[in-house]
Amino acid sequence: MTPKWMVWVGGVLLAAVIAAALYFPALRRQVNKAKDLTEKTAEQARRELLPVAPVSTGDPKVKVKMFWGTRGEQGGLTPVSVELPLSRDPVLRAKQVLNTLLAGPVDPESRTLPPDAALLAFYILPDGTGIADFSDEVRSSTPSGIQSEQLAVESIARTLEANVPEVLRLKILIHGQEADTLAGHLDLTQAFRVSAKDATGTQLENPSPPGSSLPAPIQKAVDRVRQATQR
């Protein structure tokens, strides 16, 4: 004969297990929701801290040349003329044209960059190297492949070349960090030469110092961006 107290303890334990089993899915949903919320909030906070889409309604409207993808599957870029209020300041101008490039063309099939990607920061170093810092989506949402990744980088380089002559080279960072590749193929450890002929990327004239993959001025800028995103 089982003692009465043991029956009670067993019953309480069983009830606790059933209650936990019932509550577990709801708890998991809440945890996932909280995690998403935290990530979104962090991303939103970072974007607010680094306002990279300056509104310049006072600037005169000028015709700018944007390079979006050629319609069809052959690849390639097509220049498209767009009227934009454009700042005289090269850094602001670069941000304005890159944000327009990210906003995309009328035809979504001609996009070269993912719609959810954002430009977090843009700097121009004294040696003419433009540093464009994009959000993680530029890596996670760009179609993986040599051709598609090259088109993405080339559209940035050629748009800058056409509208911001002060930018001679382009260094792409993702979320303030140097990335090995854009989406698994294209090498982002180097700076791309911004040129009308070709933006396939050539090594910087000043080689990196031993032990570092970035030239000193770029490394400083990378550190600046990193500090800003960590704050």
């Binding site: 599957e73 052959q74 690849g75 179609p143 993986s144 492949g145 040599i146 051709q147 598609s148 090259q150 090995d180 590749t181 698994g184 193929h185 294209l186 090498d187 450890t189 180097q190 791309f192 070709d198 396939t200 990327g201 050539t202 090594q203 080689p207 990196s208 031993p210 032990g211 993959s213």
Partner: protein, 284 residues
């Protein structure tokens, strides 16, 4: 990345082997050394006696001009390192029909390996299963070989279905180093002209088989190629976005055959490039 050296890696491997022999002999007892020395001496005597009549016969039938050009550069291309891209946690490009680049390239690599072996090449795969070696580990497979070419296989997520494109690294100057060793990060630099030659030949073969493919190779800073100290190309096939997986499967024999014929056509032009060293001498 630290200042690691591709050529140094190769040098270390070679010299470790040589020193290994030397150290092994030194560690043996004296009696064994004497015995080995006697055997070696006897073998050398026998070899010289056997070779003497042949040498005499050679002098009577061949003039020095007709002798094999022992100093002329010879093709040392024997090994092809095939790199099925991605793998493991990195699926690469993903299609709407559940096609993933990392799985599909294994199929292309297996067929290409067979086609290359039929042409007499030794083939090394950077991966055979669902793992993902690092870029440097993949390059190291080729950098450890003497007389190898490197071919990275990819399937794009874009592009005209049923076409192929061959990519090489954009030109960069060969780094000037006092040691004559090639910095790991610039390992591809001395091999760029050879890579172009190989790429042209492979692209020509592929464009014959796949209409709509470009006639000439493309240049792109592909991360995998930069650290490879061998003629290196990337072949990208379009695409994972095909409506039916069978469309990609039908391309397998053509891609394998095109690559194998392109590499075979490249074999006569392959010579190990010399690396300029300050002071005028060269290091092969």
């Amino acid at each position: 990345m630290g200042p690691s050296f591709g050529a140094a890696y190769f040098f270390e491997r070679t010299m470790r082997f040589r020193f290994g022999i030397l150290l092994g002999v030194r560690s043996l007892p004296t009696t064994t050394l004497v015995l080995l020395g006697s055997l070696l001496g006897a073998a050398l005597c026998a070899f010289s006696l056997a070779g003497a009549p042949q040498q005499q016969a050679g002098t009577t039938t061949q003039t020095p001009a007709a002798a094999p050009p022992t100093t002329a550069p010879h093709s040392g291309l024997n090994v092809v390192v095939l790199d099925p891209a991605h793998g493991g946690t990195d699926p690469g490009a993903r299609g709407t029909e559940g096609i993933s680049e990392s799985d599909e390239v294994l199929q292309f690599a297996a067929a290409t390996k067979k086609a290359l072996e039929a042409q007499g090449f030794q083939v090394i795969l950077t991966r055979e299963g669902n793992n993902n070696p690092s870029f440097d580990d993949r390059s190291a497979r080729a950098n450890a070989q003497r007389g190898a070419v490197f071919i990275s296989l990819h399937i794009a997520s874009t592009g005209l279905a049923g076409t192929t494109r061959v990519y090489v690294q954009p030109d960069e100057p060969i780094p000037n180093t006092t040691s004559g060793l090639i910095p790991w990060d610039h390992a591809q630099a001395p091999f760029q002209s050879l890579s172009r030659k190989l790429g042209d030949l492979v692209q020509q073969e592929l464009s014959k088989r796949f209409k709509g493919s470009p006639e000439t190779l493309q240049t792109a800073p592909v991360r995998q190629l930069r650290t490879t100290a061998a003629p290196a190309i990337a072949v990208e096939i379009s695409s994972v976005s095909v409506k039916d997986r069978a469309e990609l499967d039908r391309m397998v024999p053509g891609v394998a055959d095109g690559i194998a014929r392109g590499v075979a056509a490249f074999r006569p032009s392959y010579v190990i490039p010399s690396i300029p060293v300050p002071g005028g001498s060269v290091q092969p």
